[in-house]
Point group: C2
């Protein structure tokens, strides 16, 4: 037995396996996930696992390594979030989201930091050795809403699109603020004296970290789109580039101390449109499915590790500090949302209702990011107290808030997401209004949202598409693409329906005899002669499967042909047959 040799990959594989099996287990019974959010169940599994490890080894189980979290577990989730981000509601509410993410987070950091410092002054709590800077540092890591936790809970409660994007967008974009404040206070803690210059430099860093992240992300996104222009001879490695470039953007941003999360989101949102047009349909399915799979596994692992890491002897218990942390987190967030929304509502027609405000405040879940940050703190004598407080806040928000938010949403009758996709008519009207408003804004000289959107669209079609898209010479309007997609979908369903209708060999169709009998009565519906006629015509126009691809080729998969080629062949075939 040579366990040493295979230990690293073996244990990684086993952890992933455990996570996946836990996931399957929960979903075996449909009732369980509808009551308790998956994240709670996973933390619970982690707690049990941690307990077992603690009981067997009699020492604390290994805590989640912050490097592993930030370098390997977080990027897939953020990539998935960015790639599937609905861009319209995101950009429509970008101002509000930024306000919550930047001003709201700063508000929370200083609010929590200063009020905890106040608590520390009470002599009977024995906390007088915790300085203001340490409290602010703690505030900077505990204030940020966690995208992983928010996503895990909000995707199950189906609130309306705007509310979802406000909470979720905030949790993603506050990363830039958290990074800056956390690093600022950490370096202040180690400095002998703080000059005014340092404070101003810190303020300047906000812009560098945030905008730098966007820049890095967009650059890599454009390179990714450009690369996929040239993959038409080697389709198999297409999906790779989506993952490689977005990961590179994250790592590059981290390397320059910029916001990796912002970078990867900018990269994913930037490249999506062009990559989708360049790569093949099956590659795109692979990208989508693999991204979902990967983020789902990462997310599962994070919650399990969170549970495992909770068990052990890393904690210093101090009732007042921990309780007041939880209370201040709740209060300052609620206050922040109220104040900021007041300003937001003054400038918007479509206001944020008071129910929405409540859910935004209540949905401020903390998660693995805080947890990793608190372990990254430099060693000082009260670190274990901070770890304990962070753990309690995370467990409180995920368990108590996460489990009660769904009943509250139902109780308050918060506007849910509409169940159906917009119809073609609605889409056409939305687009028409966009153009109209852009025109009005242009005439009135107001450089608003629609004006910039229109300008960007013009720049995109005039320059970007020519560089980044392979087949730019044949631009299809999106309505034609939608029509083709629907047509293809209908055709598949038609085939399935047809096959149900006229293959007597199919076992599930013995009970369709009744249909045939009733058919007699409604002769006009499916006249046998017409049917015969249809079949003849269909058969004549069917596209022959002429080409088969060699079975062993590494670069292609069996049955992979270009849709463009197929269409051309069909055209030729029709020309000759007519």
């Amino acid at each position: 037995l040579d366990y040493q040799h295979v230990q690293v990959p073996f244990e990684i594989t086993l952890w992933i396996m455990l996570a996946s099996l836990a996931k399957i287990g929960f979903h075996l019974y449909n009732k369980l996930p509808s009551v308790v959010p998956e994240s709670c169940l996973l933390i619970f599994v982690g707690l049990i696992m941690g307990g077992i490890i603690y009981g067997l080894n009699d020492k604390s189980p290994p805590v989640m390594d912050s490097d592993i979290f930030f370098l390997y577990l977080l990027p897939p989730i953020v990539l998935d979030a960015g790639y599937f981000m609905p861009s319209r509601p995101f950009f429509e509410n970008i101002g509000t989201i930024l306000l919550y993410a930047v001003v709201g987070t700063i508000w929370n950091v200083f609010g929590i930091g200063f009020s905890l410092y106040g608590i520390c002054q009470v002599k009977s709590f024995h906390l007088q050795d915790v300085s203001l800077l340490h409290n602010l540092l703690f505030g900077s890591l505990i204030a940020a809403v966690d995208p992983v936790a928010v996503l895990a809970v909000f995707e199950e409660i189906h609130v309306n699109e705007k509310l979802h994007i406000l909470v979720f967008g905030e949790s993603l974009l506050n990363d830039a603020v958290t990074v800056v404040l956390y690093k600022l206070f950490r370096s202040f803690c180690e400095m002998p004296a703080i000059k005014t210059v340092d404070v101003f430099a810190g303020v300047g860093k906000f812009f560098v970290v945030g905008l730098g992240g966007v820049l890095v992300g967009l650059t890599f996104g454009m390179i990714a789109a450009f690369t996929t222009r040239f993959t038409n001879n080697i389709r198999v490695i297409e999906p790779l580039f989506v993952f490689l470039y977005s990961y590179l953007s994250y790592l590059t941003a981290e390397m320059f101390h910029l916001s990796g999360i912002v970078a990867i989101i900018a990269c994913a949102m930037g490249m999506k449109r062009y990559v989708e047009a360049n790569i093949s349909l099956k590659s795109h399915t692979t990208v989508k499915y693999f991204m979902k799979m990967w983020s789902s596994v990462s997310d599962t692992l994070i919650f399990i590790f969170l549970g495992v890491s909770t068990i052990g002897e890393n904690h210093e218990w101090n009732w007042p500090y921990i309780c007041f942390t939880v209370i201040f987190c709740l209060i300052w967030r609620a206050l922040g949302v109220l104040v900021l929304t007041f300003f937001v509502n003054r400038f918007h027609v479509n206001t944020v209702t008071s129910k929405d405000q409540f859910i935004i405040a209540y949905g401020g879940l903390r998660g693995a990011i805080c947890f990793s940050l608190v372990f990254l703190l430099p060693d000082f004598h009260r670190k274990k107290l901070f770890i304990a407080a962070t753990t309690v806040v995370i467990l409180f928000t995920v368990f108590v808030q996460g489990m009660t938010i769904r009943p509250l949403v139902d109780l308050l009758h918060v506007k849910k997401k509409r169940e159906s996709a917009p119809t073609v008519g609605e889409q056409i009207h939305i687009r028409f209004l966009d153009h109209l408003l852009a025109g009005i804004e242009d005439i009135s000289g107001h450089w608003g949202q629609y004006y910039w959107k229109d300008k960007l669209e013009y720049f995109n079609s005039k320059y970007l598409q020519k560089i980044l898209l392979r087949e730019y010479d044949q631009p299809k309007s999106s309505i034609v693409l939608l029509y083709e997609k629907l047509e293809r979908k209908h055709a598949i369903e038609l085939a399935e329906a047809g096959q149900l209708g006229h293959t007597p060999s199919h076992p599930s169709l013995l009970n369709s005899h009744r249909t045939v009998v009733t058919d007699k009565k409604s002769e006009d519906t499916l006249n046998p002669e017409v049917l015969q006629n249809i079949q003849e015509i269909l058969a004549r126009n069917l596209y022959r499967i002429r080409r088969t691809v060699p079975a062993y080729n590494r670069h292609t998969l069996p049955g992979e042909t270009e849709p463009a080629e197929q269409a051309k062949e069909i055209l030729i075939f029709r020309h000759t047959s007519l």
Copy 2:
């Protein structure tokens, strides 16, 4: 700048990126890959890279780590090979493949080992310090044909299926023999004296290592199939299990010193059938594409690393030893193939022709496995000579044989692979003959291939399928499945053709006006009234898109509905409409 922090993932990503970009580069010009095999080009890129690193740093570039190769790069390629292995030709020729893999490899090991020992006795070559055991050890690592190199070359020359499976199957299955002989001779080298018991134990190990690998693989394959029975509520993580279980089988086999390659192939071949039936169509696309992508990247990285590792100061040059190694590798393989094929042809009706024999002997390419094994050798004073000889053999086989094999195949008119897939008629006849032969064998009491296949099939449908498949109560015959698939394909093409016919908005269709004009002449082909009628009926029977899935859900993708549900709904819809 904090490069240290992100170094590991950053460099890995950059290497993969380099490999992918190199691949794109070759395929930009279609002519290049048709003349030179990709593997040669990649090694060439590696040589240049190695030269640059050597020139800049003035020290040898890092060699490919054997652990990285065996634990991370090799498994994806073998998994891909096993999963897409055409099982019929493989099992039809399993006897011949095993003969080549086991007896042939042993023949080569001892042949090369002893004759090199003979060369070492020549005084003027200054090689008298290389013992017989070291020569045999060297023989054991240089004798094995490499699956990665074989796959890279043979998938481009499209020889007939039987020839391909003989060479490729041998290269995969000889792993068990290589592992045993290599470890045996290595331990002998370190022993003070060798007892007869050790030799017999070595012979016994063959069976343990090979059959053990098969057992481990099949066990994990069955568990994988069983697990996918329960994933219908959480489709996104389905593809994961295929990768996790096969990787676990590889690692477990390696852990117990069994043949990992054999294990992963057994696992992939065992689970494929059941997993395919259990998981959704899109999950299956993801599995297939991701496997192809991953193996393609691994293979690219291996060849680039091979090139990089060649440069440097690891080599001790000794003309006679190196030249004779190349010559003996060629001679002993040719002799082995001739002798073994003589016996094979005596027992088979469908013989291996002399042209095929030549290609089998000539296709014995060496690759990265030899290279990794030679670096794993314990340190002794002639290790650098072995490294040099291995490098030369690999480069000689990949460059000289790899580049000339395609012209030779054309020159000798070796039977190529048939271009088209077998028709439904052929498939039915093949199946009929299988049943017939199984019956004949059963009556005549001859326990041949067909008898066992029939028994296995019976066992499969009686027990295995009930345990491993989710929807066993509705078994569909494969002919019904094929029909459904064809129907669906036709429907898509029909939709595309139809869309080409009646949307004047489509830009590429302005030239189809001519079609409409000629339409008048052939009134009977597409009568407008009939067309009208058809459209009415089609429209009435179309399945309405009623359901849309929430856009943010982590566990599902937009537009993912169960085919079974769809079929049911169509049925209901038809019932109500009739």
